[in-house]
């Protein structure tokens, strides 16, 4: 048990250290220019410098606002539509093929169009983030709300449950684990959406900052921005994963996740 725990921490740490060492060694021996690929140490220095810059936090706040707003819109729409279609077959027949077709469009390619429609401000980025995050929530919600077993429904019928009780005590808890799994994917997608939007147009956000760094050939700074973006993404993902463990403590995968942590 104790050696297991030791290796679970030691092995991934060793992998990361080995990766960083090989990277440093390669840059030093092949004499790669810092404009092309800086060493990890240079990136760390740039990252610390970046954190000290007040402007960065403003950019970070913009990106987080866009991603979280887009995510929340996607969650609201995805759950409502998924739930409605799970309940009413006719709605599913009418709209699901259409929604699946929309999903097949590479939405990143539509991003410039959204900028054209919604301008260079926050709105366009929120729309892109929401568009990317919608489908995982929607498709999971559709499956989740349909997965209530007929036998469980029979129990609630025998107990004379009213529709509200049925929803709160049966449909919702049955669907929640799967919906939350979709939200874990969606939160990462919304981050990607916000950054892509900032790449394309606008003068705010970490995506914009990354492009600006590249244009000034501050490659270590560019990497530092990417590190910051990764940390923000990880934080958002962890929050949703925590929410899952907290809201559905009975669920096996949530329990497993806890015991592994």
């Amino acid at each position: 048990m104790h050696t297991d725990r030791f290796f679970r921490i030691a092995l991934p740490t060793a992998t990361v250290i080995a990766f960083l060492l090989v990277w440093t060694l390669y840059v030093r021996t092949a004499e790669v220019s810092a404009f092309i690929l800086p060493t990890p140490l240079q990136i760390v220095t740039a990252f610390i410098g970046l954190l000290g810059d007040a402007g960065v936090w403003r950019h970070a706040l913009v990106t987080v606002t866009e991603a979280v707003s887009g995510f929340l819109i996607a969650v609201l729409l995805g759950i409502c539509l998924g739930m409605a279609m799970a309940r009413v077959r006719m709605l599913e027949w009418a709209f699901k093929p259409f929604i699946v077709c929309l999903q097949l469009i590479p939405k990143i390619a539509l991003a410039p169009l959204f900028i054209l429609w919604f301008g260079f401000g926050l709105e366009s980025k929120i729309v892109i983030a929401a568009a990317l995050a919608f489908f995982p929530v929607f498709s999971n919600a559709l499956v989740a709300f349909r997965s209530v077993e007929p036998g469980d429904r029979d129990v609630f019928t025998m107990l004379q449950a009213n529709p509200v009780q049925r929803f709160v005590m049966l449909d919702l808890p049955t669907a929640l684990p799967v919906v939350l799994a979709g939200m874990e994917v969606a939160v990462v997608m919304s981050m990607i959406g916000a950054i892509v939007g900032e790449f394309i147009g606008g003068n705010e956000g970490l995506g914009y900052l990354a492009v600006a760094m590249l244009q000034e050939l501050q490659v270590p700074g560019l990497f530092a921005v990417i590190v910051l973006l990764t940390l923000i993404g990880l934080t958002l993902y962890t929050l949703i994963a925590q929410l899952r463990g907290w809201l559905t403590p009975w669920h096996a995968s949530a329990a497993r996740g806890r015991s592994e942590a």
Partner: protein, 264 residues
């Protein structure tokens, strides 16, 4: 007001057909039966004889194609609508325990009271008392996933009993359990039903179980699905497992078996 000579459960010409036209399958036909308060009857038959369908029709989970079901004088089916009035005193146990993983054992047991708007303190007290009765003391705060199959069915039984039902419908609730657990639970079930004078219908394919528990055994046949015979079980109550070794009991088993195979 219900008059005393009136049957507790009355089936009159109940039938069910699935599908239409050429594809129509007759699941049950012309089932007629009267039960008095406190009667324990079993629906015994091979798989595919429609016994579960018949039980589900009585429970109001399945609509009959024809005929009428009265529970304490009230029609279970009002046209296409399930009557919540008629089915209110009815509890049902299923083949699976059907406990909900988001509730603890005690919360599962208390669920019927919660749905009826009983205050938290009262329903918790009643759930804990009933957990003790069915042998779940100490398991109240656990999740159903931590329980064995037999324990889960005990919790399911407690959930069925907490509303103090007048009618109990059992769809092979102990069918998936090992023989020893099954005997134990059957004995407990029998004593609970006798004590509260619950009118009980049990669906089973076990001849021994049907004979041991019931006042009357309703033998069903498949193709066409119908009631072939209603056999009285002439044994005193309370019954113990010793009864199963007596010659009279063995004779009944032989009689039921021949009735099942149609060769009497």
């Amino acid at each position: 007001m219900r008059m005393d000579h009136e049957a507790d459960i009355r089936l009159a010409g109940v039938g069910k057909t699935f599908g239409h036209g050429e594809n129509a399958v007759r699941a049950i036909g012309d089932a007629t039966l009267d039960m008095q308060r406190g009667d324990f009857i079993s629906l015994l038959g091979p798989s595919g004889c429609g016994k579960t369908t018949l039980l589900r029709i009585i429970a109001g989970l399945e609509r009959p194609s024809e005929g009428e079901i009265l529970v304490r004088g009230r029609a279970v089916w009002d046209g296409a609508k399930r009557s919540t009035e008629a089915t209110r005193p009815v509890s049902m146990m299923f083949q699976e325990a059907r406990l909900f993983p988001w509730f603890t054992v005690a919360e599962n047991v208390a669920l019927p009271l919660r749905l009826r708007g009983v205050k938290k303190a009262e329903r918790e007290a009643r759930a804990h008392a009933l957990c003790e009765t069915v042998g779940l003391k100490g398991f109240e705060k656990m999740r159903p996933s931590a329980l064995s199959g037999g324990m889960r069915q005990r919790a399911s039984l407690a959930r069925a009993l907490i509303t103090e039902p007048q009618v109990l419908l059992l769809d092979e609730p102990f069918g998936a359990l090992d023989a020893m657990t099954r005997d134990t639970l059957n004995l407990e079930l029998m004593s609970v039903c006798a004590q509260a004078r619950v009118t009980t219908i049990l669906v089973t394919h076990s001849i021994t179980e049907a004979a041991f528990l019931s006042d009357r055994v309703v033998v069903l046949a498949a193709r066409p699905a119908r009631i072939t015979e209603v056999v009285e079980m002439p044994f005193e109550r309370p019954r113990t497992l010793d009864l199963q070794r007596k010659p009279a009991f063995q004779d009944i088993l032989v009689r039921l078996r021949s009735s099942l195979t149609g060769g009497h």
